[in-house]
């Protein structure tokens, strides 16, 4: 490897990274500022006051101690459900051609452009009719709902690329449809699984309206995002509290990301030698 370009690459990347996460650093630093300092010394990244009361406030207002666990339970369960149903669906759609496949694809594909963020009423009614109001089960079901078209397509287009021979070999070894999928095909799709986990994690973790509306009579079942929104009022906005809450809520996601990252590099070692 040539040395000079490498240094150059790192310098460029470091500079870019700094610019990239500047807003985030700004948020972290704001979470240690007082409201006054937040406005007076907006530019500075080093807080003068190191005010930790923001975190305390975010913690109590956001009811982190009780909401955090709800968030984890809901998010983990939803991710597991979504992974199972989308990878299975992607497998069937990507690997096989069967009667009705075209219709399924067309309907799923056409649905993704309908903006449904504001039509919460039908979903609410459904959960209520199923008797799942005010239960974590209801939130989990509603959060797992939807077509997950994007995940299905990601899986389908990945599975399509897998050499047919692998499957044939498995069939010859006597593996049935399900076992071929579970033991041969699915383990190959780690990178896609990683993407799906991360993306679903972010959505569910930050979801606000559904958990709020579905727990109207049992606030103890609410999730973190619902608690965090309490910091943003109609007339009064607790900026530094929001920054602190944002910082706290970010931590688990970064951990998850660091953790899943290796699936994107796994097996690539030695692949691109540039």
């Amino acid at each position: 490897m040539r040395v000079v370009p490498k240094v150059f690459v790192h310098a460029a990347l470091l500079l870019l990274s700094f610019v990239w996460i500047y807003p985030f650093l700004w948020m972290v630093s704001a979470s240690f500022k007082t409201q006054t300092e937040f406005f007076e010394k907006g530019l500075s990244l080093l807080p003068e006051s190191w005010d930790t009361s923001n975190f305390a406030r975010a913690w109590t207002n956001g009811k982190f101690e009780s909401y955090f666990l709800n968030s984890v339970i809901v998010t983990v369960t939803v991710i597991v459900i979504v992974l199972i149903i989308t990878s299975a669906c992607g497998y069937a759609l990507g690997r096989y051609s069967f009667k009705g496949k075209g219709v399924i694809l067309a309907v799923l594909g056409a649905s993704i452009f309908v903006p449904l963020e504001f039509s919460i009423i039908p979903v609410f009614q459904l959960i209520k009719d199923m008797g799942l109001m005010n239960s974590l089960g209801g939130i989990i079901l509603a959060e797992s709902g939807g077509g997950h078209v994007l995940f299905v397509l990601l899986f389908a287009s990945f599975f399509r690329q897998v050499p047919k021979e692998l499957e044939e070999a498995a069939t010859m070894d006597g593996c049935g449809f399900v076992r071929t999928y579970l033991s041969v095909i699915l383990p190959l799709s780690k990178p896609i699984i990683g993407s799906v986990v991360i993306m679903q994690f972010i959505w569910t973790w930050n979801s606000f309206l559904l958990p709020l509306v579905l727990t109207l009579s049992s606030p103890e079942l609410r999730t973190l995002a619902v608690g965090l929104y309490a910091l943003r009022g109609e007339n009064i906005v607790d900026w530094t509290g929001i920054a602190a809450g944002g910082t706290i809520a970010l931590a688990p996601i970064i951990v998850i990301f660091l953790f899943l990252q290796r699936y994107f590099v796994d097996g690539m070692s030695g692949a691109v030698k540039g």
């Binding site: 948020m27 399924i104 694809l105 594909g109 903006p115 997950h148 990945f158 930050n206 590099v265």
Partner: protein, 344 residues
């Protein structure tokens, strides 16, 4: 969409240029993308078809319950003169749609949605791929750290980003400070508050926020390329650039199409970021269809909200996009088959 896939597959099987037999060979034997397994009418394959449906069913059920059903309900709402609050819904057929089409501000929002998509998606795709390729290099030290850093904006909630960006792009924020220090600007611009710059700024911030996710998708795509191919290319003495163009690009096109679709639908439905940063302003300069819908569905000054009308806007928007997609697929298919006809 189903029509797009064969096109992608043609691309990926395009023969490689002169003298690269080694690669060609390895591609056909190892990386030949598995073909769909057609289900013929034998007892065994009937069993497989059954399995296929069993595999598809759970997702379809979740779709039907939480997306299909709400869409149908929305269709129905869109034909009502209804506030969403009282029980005084009146069926008015296509009345909402007529009113919608006559409203120049709906078309302004419609135009802005596409402008936003056209501005953001190409940037996201190209920069995302670039980031993925650079940071996919296992020899690059600290790649893991860079990837994490690039990913951070993705996980920061939109409302927090909105608040932060108002300051960073404000008249005394970091952006103006840096640009003035670099002598690129003689007086501060309120990027989000200036009708000429607001759309540009919102697009840039959206790209910033979502680039990390695109990087992940592309990384997943790059991962699906068998490493033997790269080794074969290296044996053949291909340069990294050539390897990228001739091996990487054709093989990630199928995943690339999915990523594109994902970005297009995401950008066309953008809401949180615009709502928190500009709320569609200044004077509708960044008003997109979802903020237009929101305005009619929830915030009304004197009268009641208009859920029926808002639903109509959503349905109309989605319907026209699907129409455009279908038309485009049909036209491409026609051109494609005409081209192939000549070639043969």
């Amino acid at each position: 969409m189903a029509a797009r896939w064969p096109a992608a597959r043609r691309l990926s099987r395009r023969p490689l240029p002169h003298g690269k037999e080694g690669i060609l060979l390895s591609q056909t034997t190892i990386a030949q993308p598995g073909r769909e397994i057609a289900v013929r009418r034998t007892p065994r394959s009937r069993k497989i078809a059954l399995w296929c449906w069993l595999f598809v069913a759970p997702n379809l059920i979740f779709f039907a319950m939480f997306q299909g059903w709400p869409i149908i309900v929305n269709w129905y709402y869109s034909m009502l003169d209804w506030s969403g609050i009282s029980s005084d819904a009146k069926f008015i057929g296509l009345g909402n749609f007529k009113e919608l089409i006559a409203d120049p501000y709906f078309w302004n929002a419609y135009k802005n949605s596409f402008l936003f998509m056209l501005g953001a998606v190409p940037l996201l795709l190209v920069l995302g791929l670039l980031a993925a390729v650079v940071l996919n290099n296992p020899l690059l030290k600290l790649a893991k750290m860079y990837r994490t850093l690039f990913f951070i904006p993705v996980v920061t909630t939109a409302s927090v980003v909105g608040i932060i960006m108002v300051y960073i792009w404000g008249s005394e924020g970091a952006v103006n400070y840096a640009l003035m220090k670099l002598n690129l600007l003689d007086q501060p611009v309120n990027w989000l508050g200036d009708p000429h710059w607001a759309m540009f700024t919102v697009i840039l911030i959206y790209v910033w926020k979502n680039l990390g996710m695109n990087m992940i998708y592309w990384l997943a795509g790059l991962q699906s390329i068998p490493r033997e191919l790269y080794e074969a290319a290296k044996v053949d003495g291909s340069t990294p650039a050539k390897t990228f163009v001739h091996i990487t690009v054709p093989l990630i096109v199928p995943v690339g199409l999915v990523i594109t679709l994902l970005n297009v639908s995401g950008a066309l439905k953008v809401f949180d970021m615009i709502k928190t940063m500009t709320d569609g302003g200044p004077f509708f300069a960044t008003d997109v269809v979802s903020t237009y819908i929101y305005r009619f569905a929830f915030s009304s000054e004197i009268g009641l909200p208009r859920l029926g009308y808002a639903s109509a806007a959503g349905i109309f928007f989605a319907f026209t996009i699907v129409l455009i997609a279908v038309l485009q697929a049909v036209i491409r298919k026609m051109i494609g088959s005409a081209g192939r006809g000549r070639g043969a």
